[in-house]
Amino acid sequence: MDFPVFHLDFLGNRMLIAMIAVLHVMINHSLAVGAMPLVAALEWWGHRKGDERWDRLAYRILTVSFVITTTVGALTGVGIWLSTSLVNPYAIGSLIRVFFWAWFIEWLVFVTEVVCIMAYYLSWKKMNDRKRAHIALGAGLAFASWVTMAIITAILGFMMDPGSWMSKESFMSGVFNPIYLPQLAFRTPVAMVAAGCFALFLTFFFTRADRDLRAGAVRWLSVWTLAWLPLAAAGALWYWKVIPAWMTANVPVALGTQKFASWYTDLVVTLAVMVVLVLLVGLAGLAVPRSVPRVAMLVPFAATMLLLGSFERVREFIRKPYVIGEFMYANGIRVDDYPLLKEEGVLRHATYTSVREISDSNRVTAGREVFRLTCTRCHTATGVNSVNDRLRELYGSGEWDRETVKYYVLGMHTARPYMPPFPGTDREAGVLADYLVDLREHRRPIPGAQEVGVVVPEALPESGTESVGGA
């Protein structure tokens, strides 16, 4: 409402964030949080055995992690921020006001982590005669990586903790919300398992000329992976068990469970598949380390990534219809602004809109502006999660009744509790329905402010200085 509306009508705004965020979580968990302790342990093992070849293998695995985390990993991390501030600036701006210092501390730990990884990687060969100190540096780096993840998980918890974050004692209660510890207990070992699978995969490339080392390394990494696997399964189960309680506390209308239930079952299936796959590959690595095929390593890695992705999705879902629990809806509009907007309309109070007042001649255009202002954070007109497809599921592909669509808009939050209530007036719901019915016939993408810029109409007098309602 108060920012130029950035919009991607083909990809969808949420998809933009999801792509960047998922890539970041995958790299962060498997190649930083999981890989750093793994590499340090591998280095220690090589030092203990006095075997140069193990040291070289650890260094090469670190090289791959280093290159990927300091490029794609680091930039997708910044990218989550850049994309969320494009898509939901009011939400991210509000979060920054509240959690500034939490993020600031996280940043300091993040700086430490980067300095540590530079020092650890670049001093590997120079510190050959001081191996123990170098391994200790690796352990410190592993700890710093884990702490950044632990802090950001806490901030994720803040965003989901409904209501209490506004009250005085919210900071700590936000950190230790009921799903924080299970989340951490889940993410940590999953990261270790994923790193184990990834290192196994790399090992096949780095030991082509040395079959003995390959057998030893595959066995070592299998032990690593299998050791973390039960913890990963236990953490996932714990997390899985606290979700419903959290969910019922957050989604007052039980209807939300309908869609949730199917994801929830998916989770258990993914979890089971991941455990079985990793177990099989790990056992094969222990028993017949010479004959495990290279691709076999990628499959469990993909499965752990899928598991992470599914949990993230459920976590996001629990949050709806809010983007910040009970403070702001997913459409970026504050809960407290609803009564006024319901009385006077979003068009009247929007900073950027081409229509300020609805007339009989501008109904469809006005409806498109209402759609842009209130629906486009999650829906597109013609692309991913398009409103057209959603309505087609309800009303079929024939003619849609404008009145039916209007009443659906006005009441959708009762039937679909993950949807925010419609913020505008009944009349705005009416023109929105006009637009939606028109869209069924004339499929046109909605351009974003990044392509066509913004329009600012004449401001109306401030509220309260004139009577509203007309007629």
Binding site: L82, Y90, E403, A471
Partner: protein, 452 residues
């Protein structure tokens, strides 16, 4: 005519006093930009020496050593960028995010552009020996990386420039038009020159430090020769700023100019000229780096701090009228919103704009039930005709089912429980069982009355 966009500000307090945040913003940004300078300047100088190394192979080793500093400095530059970004997001969220959205495509492209630049720079650094015989390809890797690094500051500059001028927001149609606003390109030149100067100065200190075995590492090169070349480059780049600097100043829209700002600038220029004189003398000397080198570093650091303060004063001055309008508008909106909240709590919302014509039951039916039920055909659930058959004359039974449904029909998904306000259950039962199929109320009856 153009109207100034006046958005509502956030309704949440700042995390710290604005003064603290402003000081934070200036210093955190300066530390970040130092490493950005070293990264970009290093990429350019490494390329420069590598090209000259084609004729004079001794310089190739120097180029490689510079490339090694780039990949370290780039990681520090990125991580140190997060802090100032956080502070800017707190202080200038309203203006910064607006500029970001208006240049959205370019803004989000920062992620793939910087990622690609970094990967190319790694490829450049780690393929130095492997591609020793294919210098053309190797130079292309480094060149492509450096070009991308040059492109990214344009995106940032376009954004922090655009954010200062809300009046211009309406003229902007995408990144290129934001780039075309005055001041962006002069400022870009200013920044690139600074990168070259800072990096040359740094490398002179780095390679000519006492403990560095220069002649051993770079056979065929002499320490004092490289020292002179680097210091002369730093001198030349800084001297050029005496031309570019005034250009930056005169292309600056007058919105934010103030005497305090000019005073800061003048102080910066004075220190800068002092640094130039010292730098020239240091460049002529063949002795090891003296205290004079550190005086140059100190004077230039002072220049940069004063310039950053001047820039900050300009920013605050340029934004302040708009900020005042936003504050007034926000306060008015806030009190109107509170009024509406109180009216709602008192049960007297002003819903004059309504176009209600349907009965409460029909309204609820359309809003809630029609997501899954149609009149006489199956959608997600069974049609109303069947429901009426089952519950005719039994509204209580229908209500009980709606409150706590279960699984009844094979081949249908289970209906979820519906929670509504008490009167809505009754209204909906009445509507379904008595009104829908009554002859006088047909589906077509509700018509639109825009007059309200």
């Amino acid at each position: 005519m153009d109207t100034l966009p006046i958005p509502h500000d956030f309704f949440l307090p700042m995390p710290a006093s604005t003064l603290e945040l402003q000081v934070f913003a200036i210093f955190l940004f300066l530390i970040h930009i130092l490493f950005v300078n070293l990264m970009l300047g290093g990429a350019l100088l490494s390329l420069f020496f590598e090209i000259r190394g084609l004729r004079r192979p001794a310089l190739d080793g120097l180029a490689q050593e510079i490339a090694a500093t780039v990949t370290v400095n780039k990681s520090i530059a990125v991580v140190l960028g997060v802090g100032p970004l956080l502070v800017v997001n707190a202080l200038y969220a309203l203006w910064f995010y607006s500029a970001n959205a208006l240049t959205g495509t370019a803004w989000i492209s920062i992620v793939p552009l910087v990622t690609s630049a970094f990967l190319l720079l790694y490829a450049h650094k780690y393929s130095w020996h492997a591609l020793a015989d294919r210098k053309g390809l190797h130079l292309m890797l480094g060149g492509a990386g450096a070009l991308l690094l040059l492109a990214v500051p344009l995106i940032f500059l376009a954004n922090i420039n655009l954010m200062l001028f809300p009046g211009r927001w309406l003229e902007v149609h995408g990144f290129l038009s934001a780039l075309a606003l005055p001041n962006v390109f002069p400022r870009f030149l200013h920044f690139v020159l600074a990168s070259v100067a800072v990096t040359s100065l740094f490398l002179a200190g780095w390679f000519c430090r006492q403990r560095f075995p220069f002649e051993e590492r770079f056979p065929g090169l002499e320490r004092c020769e490289i020292r002179r070349e680097l210091l002369t480059t730093a001198f030349g780049a800084t001297l050029l700023q005496l031309v570019i600097g005034p250009l930056v100043l005169v292309t600056l829209p007058p919105d934010g100019l103030s005497w305090w700002m000019i005073l800061n600038l003048a102080g910066g220029v004075t220190l800068g000229i002092t640094a130039l004189v010292l730098l020239w003398r240091e460049a002529q000397s063949t002795a090891p780096l003296s205290i004079r080198y550190w005086s140059v570093v100190g004077a230039l650091a002072g220049t940069v701090v004063l310039m950053a303060f001047a820039r900050h004063l300009y920013r605050e001055e340029a934004i302040s009228p708009h900020r005042a309008m936003v504050a007034a508008h926000t306060a008015a909106f806030r009190s109107a919103a509170l009024g509406a909240e109180m009216r709602l709590a008192a049960g007297t919302p002003r819903l004059g704009d309504a176009e209600q014509v349907a009965s409460p039951g029909e309204r609820t039916y359309r809003a809630v039930c029609m997501s899954c039920h149609a009149l006489d055909e199956r959608r997600v659930g069974p049609p109303l005709t069947e429901i009426v058959e089952i519950y005719a004359g039994n509204p209580a039974g229908l209500i009980a089912w709606v409150r706590a449904p279960g699984k009844k029909r094979a081949g249908y998904p289970e209906m979820p429980p519906i929670s509504m306000q008490e009167p809505q259950y009754q209204a909906i039962a009445t509507y379904i069982l008595e009104e829908v199929f009554a002859p006088e109320i047909s589906e077509d009856a509700p018509t639109d009355s825009a007059a309200g």
